[in-house]
């Protein structure tokens, strides 16, 4: 149970779904229903490995209560950070050997509020972890001076080196911290539920399927063989890609898995490939993501130019126990120890002062040449580094940013562009609602645990690299997204589209949170949202399975027919609305959303700027709208009277294999953010505390940029006890108030019918049309991009046909003419002529000889004699002793 097992366990967890993919791919249709067994086995196995890893992690780095604590936001680790930044071990702590000493020093200075037995456990755990690094000079020995927090270092390393290109090391590496482990547990748990659910949902695909949405030219519906095995094959590949992305230890690997996730979503959205709408949606998702990935590639190039590495953490590649300059990861380069403050890396500063560098190098080279020496690359680099230090290139000049700062901004915004595409943020959100064309289990997977989570995860993982300016961009994008998507969801009548816009909106929340400095809050919302959103999607799938339509206007009253689905979905709605008994207990969404709102609130308080207010009130308004449209969905679907009696009569509860996963997910959606062992003294085990362990070194503490004067407050500020009444209480009450008002408005309109939705629609026709048409985004993009592209394409096609075809055709006819001439002259004339000539000769010789053939026997004898004599004469004339073999 050593932490060195973690990379192996998690690596295996990644490979299991890949194995399942290959098995199903190779075995194909022959597997039949067993395809599901293979895929489920793989993902459950991966889940077991993930939770095993979590257990190992908890044994070694158990999060502890730090002593202070508000009623509900009592993450164990917040307090200690406000006074010093030094708590966070460097990424290579396990190998470098000096981290234990620092941890011990922390332990001495840290406030001690622990009970003895737990301290023992913690110190044991730290002992064990440090054991890897060898003996430590100042290990805490008594319980009194144990570390105030047990915080795991990130484990960074390489499985395999693919290649070395100059300074660039291309590896298959890993970067493991609690974020990784939690993502593994979340992804595998949800994916397992979805796999089980899909067995029920996709059972029709086991036999030939008649697709009622595809009409052939003969007027009949398409009948095709079922694709049960293919579905599970793609699911496995999807899980593999997502897990690989989470485990990836460098940005190049992230990019590879990033694209794999993209292609898997493409496969799955276009699963009903015969439907035009499905293929269009798949193409749209893929192309829109390409736009984002283009930015991501630019970001990657900027980062590599400036940093010369793709690796997140520092990896001791030559295993000599120390981290050398070329082994440092990006995080280390941008936020070097011990204080982990932002610093523009030398490479970026040099890249910006290229002209000066060129003159300097020239003069040094000339100088060296005069004394008959040659400067090698290493020497030059060192001199440049010294020069940069002395000339103050790395320091901010007054108000101006240090050199190379904008390289960091380009890198950050570029990476964020990729995340905008994957996580469906404004302005690239348009693919996600269309992605509803895929089967519902896919929607659940895409919208909770995999595809869209990837973007938010990457922003979280990449967080130390983001400058305040980039954070501002992230916050603005998140803010626009969350508000826009929430408003669109109000008018949607397709049950899955409501959920799709809800997903976009919630992703906007996460981005906003990350953008205003709420690292743990945003990622916590990622996890809680994954549970309740997959639950909601699977419930909607269950409903669609029962009534065979997506239109909520044809549902109603289904509560009685399908109680499991109805009440688990109610749990999901309550969770996403963030309902709670304030300060006592609430659904998981309550904890994460409140944290986001608190951070936005603090951001607003500390910046007297329009942005702060915008962020906070958009988030608050978004919360109210979320509650409204989610309960609108629930009331329209399950409450009231059936609006389509025929569909109602045919509705039925889904099979057990479908609703049991719903119940499991409902349990997690309710309690994933709770503190499970709060009765244990000192135990600080809960989601937020675990995430807090993974907080990148140096990202807490107030931040301000050079190009923006906003201040990014420390996330822990909001949770300090002295802020309880000034931040937590007002925000919690506001959030609960907005959620309840949203729910009651929904009830007024759709449950009790006191206010007719039709009246509201007629009162505000413009607003309704605006929302119904999704803010005209598709039309806008159609006008801005699609139509110009098509126009240009038409022009190019014209040019192609007119000119290029002309040239090509000309070449072709030239070649033909030449070939004809060649055939006539050379082939027919020379080649055939020669052959015919010889044949003619042989013929005439034959004709001449046949005159000898007289048929007269005696004449033949004469020939014999003449021939014999001729031979005799010839031999006599040319005879020589040498010819006969004589001397």
């Amino acid at each position: 149970m050593d932490t060195s097992l973690l990379p192996i366990l998690l690596g295996l967890a990644v490979l299991l779904p890949l194995g399942s993919f290959w098995v199903i791919l190779l075995a194909g249709n022959r597997l039949g229903k067993q395809a599901a067994t293979v895929a489920v086995g793989a993902i459950v196995g991966a889940g077991v490995l993930s939770f095993w890893s979590l257990a190992i992690w908890l044994v070694h780095y158990y999060p502890t209560e730090s002593g202070h604590g508000t009623e509900h936001h009592d993450g164990g680790l917040e307090h200690g950070h406000s006074d010093s930044d030094g708590h966070s071990p460097e990424p290579h702590a396990l190998r470098s050997g000096h981290a234990p000493a620092r941890a011990a020093a922390d332990g001495v200075s840290g406030p001690d509020t622990l009970t003895a037995d737990l301290t023992q456990l913690v110190s044991l755990a730290t002992d064990d972890a440090h054991g890897v690094a060898g003996p430590s000079p100042a290990e805490p020995t008594d319980g009194e001076s144990a570390p105030q927090e047990a915080r795991g270092p990130p484990f960074a390393g390489d499985y395999y080196t693919l290649g070395l290109f100059g300074r660039m090391r291309l590896t298959i590496g890993y970067y493991i911290d609690t974020l990784t482990v939690l993502m593994f547990c979340m992804v595998t748990l949800i994916a397992s539920c979805i796999h089980f659910y899909a067995i029920g949902y996709m059972h029709e695909e086991l036999h030939d399927v008649t697709d009622h949405e595809v009409t052939l030219s003969s007027g009949r519906h398409l009948t095709r063989p079922g694709r049960f095995h293919r579905f599970f094959q793609y699911l496995s590949l999807f899980c593999f890609s997502m897990l690989g992305l989470v485990l990836a230890g460098n940005i190049a690997m992230v990019f590879v898995f990033w694209e794999l996730v993209g292609i898997c979503s493409y496969f799955l959205i276009g699963f009903y490939i015969e439907r035009k709408s499905a293929t269009n949606a798949a193409n749209k998702a893929f192309i829109v993501n390409r736009v984002g990935d283009f930015g991501m590639i630019i970001g990657l190039m900027a980062l590599w130019t400036g940093l010369g590495t793709f690796s997140f953490g520092s990896v001791d590649a030559n295993s000599n126990g120390t981290i050398e300059a070329d082994e440092q990861g990006m995080f280390e380069l941008v936020r070097p120890g011990p204080d982990h403050h932002y610093r523009v890396p030398l490479g970026m500063a040099l890249a910006e002062s290229r002209k000066e560098v060129a003159t300097l190098v020239q003069s040094w080279n000339a100088e060296a040449a005069r004394s008959g020496k040659r400067l090698d690359k290493e020497e030059l680099h060192q001199r440049l580094a010294r020069h940069a230090e002395q000339a103050g290139w790395l320091e901010p000049q007054g108000d101006k940013a240090p050199r190379g700062y904008w390289w960091l901004i380009i890198g950050g915004v570029g990476i964020f562009c990729g995340c905008v595409g994957k996580s469906a943020q404004f302005p690239l959100h348009v693919w996600l609602p269309d992605a509803m064309e895929g089967p519902t289990p896919v929607s659940a997977l895409v919208h909770s645990a995999t595809m869209v989570a990837a973007g938010v995860y990457l922003v979280g993982r990449f967080y130390p690299m983001f400058t305040p300016e980039v954070l501002w961009v992230i916050a603005v994008v998140g803010c626009i997204t969350l508000f826009m998507a929430a408003t669109i969801a109000i008018t949607a009548t397709d049950i899955k589209r409501v959920l799709a816009y809800s997903t976009i909106s919630q992703l906007g929340y996460m981005m906003l949170s990350l953008g205003v400095g709420g690292w743990a809050a945003g990622l916590m919302h990622l996890v809680t949202h994954a549970f309740f959103k997959s639950l909601l999607f699977m419930c909607s799938g269950s409903v669609i399975h029962a009534v065979h339509t997506n239109d909520m206007m044809e549902m109603g009253g289904l509560r009685k027919k399908m109680p499991y689905t109805a009440y688990t979905m109610l749990v999901g709605c309550l969770a996403i609305a963030g309902v709670s008994i304030p300060f006592v207990v609430g659904f998981s969404g309550y904890y994460s959303k409140d944290r986001i709102l608190e951070q936005a609130f603090v951001f607003m308080q500390q910046n007297h700027s329009v942005w702060g207010a915008l962020f906070f009130y958009a988030a608050l308004g978004g919360a109210a709208i979320t509650a409204f449209y989610m309960f609108r969905l629930w009331f329209l679907t399950f409450a009231g009277k059936p609006r389509n009696q025929h569909r109602y009569d045919h509705a039925h509860e889904s099979p057990k294999v479908m609703y049991v996963p719903l119940i499991i997910l409902a349990v997690f959606a309710t309690g994933v953010a709770w503190k499970p062992f709060s009765w244990l003294p000192g135990s600080g085990l809960h989601l937020a505390a675990l995430l807090e362990q993974a907080r990148p070194a140096g990202v807490h503490g107030d931040l301000t940029g050079y190009w923006t004067r906003l201040v990014w407050p420390d996330e822990h500020f909001a949770h300090a006890p002295e802020q309880f009444y000034s931040v937590v209480v007002p925000v919690t009450l506001l959030a609960t108030g907005t959620a309840l008002s949203g729910i009651s408005l929904a009830a007024v309109m759709y449950l009790w019918g006191w206010l007719s939705p039709g009246d509201v629609r007629r009162r505000f026709p413009r607003v309704y049309a605006f929302l119904w048409n999704k803010w005209y985004f598709d039309e806008l993009y159609g006008f801005l991009f699609v139509r110009p592209t098509l126009g240009v394409a038409r022009l190019v096609a014209l040019f192609d046909r007119r000119w290029i075809d002309w040239v090509v055709d000309g070449c072709a006819s030239l070649t033909r003419a030449f070939a004809n001439a060649w055939e006539k002259i050379v082939d027919r004339g020379v080649v055939d002529g020669l052959a015919n000539l010889f044949a003619g000769w042989v013929w005439s010789i034959g004709v001449w000889f046949h005159r000898l053939e007289t048929g007269r026997l005696r004449q033949y004898v004469l020939y014999l004699i003449v021939g014999f004599l001729a031979l005799f004469v010839l031999v006599s004339l040319f005879w020589s002793t040498t010819l006969a073999g004589g001397p």
Binding site: H850, R851, L852, E853, T854, G855, R856, L857, R858, V861, L862, I865
Partner: protein
């Protein structure tokens, strides 16, 4: 007269052999009767035989062919016998077809 008393050498045999040979060849070339042609063939073969015998005789030459000469001659005789049998059969058949054994009448194979 001295020539007649000279020792008999290979050359004498060769001269007789050549005489037979030439006679045989002329016979083959001039006779129209198929049997005459056959006789000419026998003469040619025997002229050649005479040469073999002469070269094979150890009394006449130091570098003799030895028994090989005699054996080849024996083979030729056997061959001649076989050939005579076949040729006579051809002649009979020829006669059946043409009511004559004048070989000049059998020029149907003219090219």
């Amino acid at each position: 007269m001295a020539g007649l008393l000279a020792t008999i050498t290979v050359s004498h045999y060769l001269a007789v052999g050549a005489f037979f040979f030439v006679t045989g060849v002329l016979c083959m070339a001039t006779k129209r009767n198929a049997l005459g042609v056959l006789m000419g063939i026998e003469l040619v073969l025997n002229g050649a035989n005479l040469n073999f015998i002469a070269f094979g005789s150890q009394y006449l030459r130091e570098e003799t062919l030895g028994l090989d000469g005699q054996l080849i001659a024996l083979f030729v005789i056997i061959l001649a016998a076989a050939e005579a049998a076949v040729a006579l059969a051809i002649a009979l058949s020829f006669y059946n077809a043409h009511s004559t054994i004048d070989v000049d009448q059998g020029d149907e194979l003219k090219g």
